[in-house]
Amino acid sequence: MAILSAQGINKYFYEPEKYRVLTDLSFEVEKGEFLTIVGKSGCGKSTLLYILSTMDTEYEGTLSINGTRLTGLNQTTLAAFRNEHIGFVFQFHFLLPEFSVLENVMLPGLKLGRYGREELEARALEKLRMLDVHEQAHKPASKLSGGQQQRVAIARALINDPTVIMGDEPTGNLDTTNTRVAFALLQDLAHTHGQTIICVTHDQEFAANSDRTIEMSDGRIVSHGHPLSA
């Protein structure tokens, strides 16, 4: 079953002059699939990821996730959809510096309101434990090292058990050990819990260990990789 479907995606940049970043991209991602997207810098893979995450709405084509057609929906609806269904890990951790580590992880969950405060706190601590940063839970986010912050950011992306977890170089700031931990966690989420993972990465090993790798060049898909089902 395709959990995410992108059809005929085109994207232009208008500054400094009109420039076509993405050309006719069409692909589907299966539920529980661990997909990586690779390509040279500037090939448009991050741009594609931001479109898939619903944050970038200025594109041609259609995007559906979990059976919902997202193209053309208003910003408020998209925000609610992101909150519930998409977890995003940025290349840089992007935590809120004034909040504690625990609060950073809990905020998207508080927004969703699926669980009460105490239960949510327990779940947030559990996610932090999976990434081995639970001991830092009550420190301000700004007091952690880069690697720790990146792991907290991954925990934040997982808090609402999203349908799709997206990462823009999610392990870019992690050492080898922590990269392995994070990779194993993501793989487990995909294969055991049926969550879909889409990661843009430069890391050859990371890509090689994923279920499928889409290769991009100059805004086009040059290889769709080998889908699980094949």
């Binding site: 991050s46 931001y50 995450s53 944050m55 970038d56 910003q75 408020t76 925000a79 609610a80 992101r82 909150n83 519930e84 998409i86 995003f88 940025f90 992007f94 935590l95 809120l96 510096p97 004034e98 909040f99 609060e103 905020l107 998207p108 508080l110 927004k111 969703l112 309101g113 405060r117 934040r156 609402n160």
Partner: protein, 417 residues
Amino acid sequence: MPSTNFLIARTHLLAKKRQTVIAILGVTFGIAMYVLMASVLTGVNKLVDNLAFQATAHVRLYREADVNRTPVLQEVLRGTDTLVSVRHQRPKPERLYLRNASVIVGDLRRLPGVTGVSAQVSTPVFYNYGAVQFNGTMLGVNVFDEDRLFDLRGQMKEGRMESLLANPNSILVGFGLANKMNVHTGDNVTVATPRGVVQVLRVVGVFQSGIGAVDNSRAYTNIGTVQKLLRQDQTYVTDISLKMRDIYGAHTFGGELARRYDVQAEDWQTANASLVASNKIRDIMTYIVSITLLVVAGFGIYNIMSMTVQDKLKDIAILKATGFSGRDIVRIFLLQAITIGLLGSLVGVALGFALSYGVSRIPFNGGGFFAIDHFPVNFNPVFYAIGVGFGVLTTLLAGYFPSKRASLVDPVAILRG
């Protein structure tokens, strides 16, 4: 349980305590100054109004020498082809009193809108004190009528006003006049009319109306005493003062009475034109200064909120990326603005009250004109309510535009760098 947006707003405010405190102080000073200005200026207005009504009737009826009458010659030669030119016509020798005064007073007492009527005989006199003469005014009145209009009983500093009735040749002297002549209750003063009639009167009381011009020149006596002094009969009345329920209808009502009884009428607004004008100017000043203060406080908040939003662009983008909508962002920043506004306003009205109280304790000599010893301050709760209301409203407005801008932040543009 507080909402998530509130938690975020609170964390933002607490994270930058100094900035928050400065923003709150901006509102505090604006509101405090508004409360102080409004309290002091309207305090002065109220004092002036009260004094004006203590000494001035709502409508005063009197007669004036008629200099603009038609020349007799013209009346005689009416209908003929003669051109009449009379230059520098003099007034007729006539007694300036209100004919039918008792009828007018009787009519007025029956009108439901009229709350008090007092017939008076007023004459300029000289008060002789040793070799020195002071000129002033003597007012012959019925003390009870006069008391109903001007609270004569409350104005008494020495003696009792009823003592006037016990002795026909007695007098109540204004506080300033009594000081000038160095007389007290029980002393005698000699009074001379312009026509040369001289009479010795006994001082039975001293009054103070609070208006220097009155206290320095006026004395009250029985109406009959003045009538005798002027060699006039009991129908001789020069002024009829009246008070009415609808004080702002005084002008129209006065005009009506003037036409009906063929007399001159003066209403309190005309009599106190300068006081009314200065009250208006103070009112306008209150508004201008208050609005300026609040606008300045508003710009301060706008500035700080804009800076906060600018500082927090990345945080806003992160919140949006994790599922907070533009509406949530507006709420988060508006909550911060409201908190600043509410705290600032509450501290502001408290400070305003403290300052107003301080001012009301400052000794202030009203001089000969006003009988007050402290600054007049009007502690009207309305100003405090308006202060809080305006403070919150201004901060809401000042916070809305930066918040709106924050909600439009494009997370992709910020987070991709």
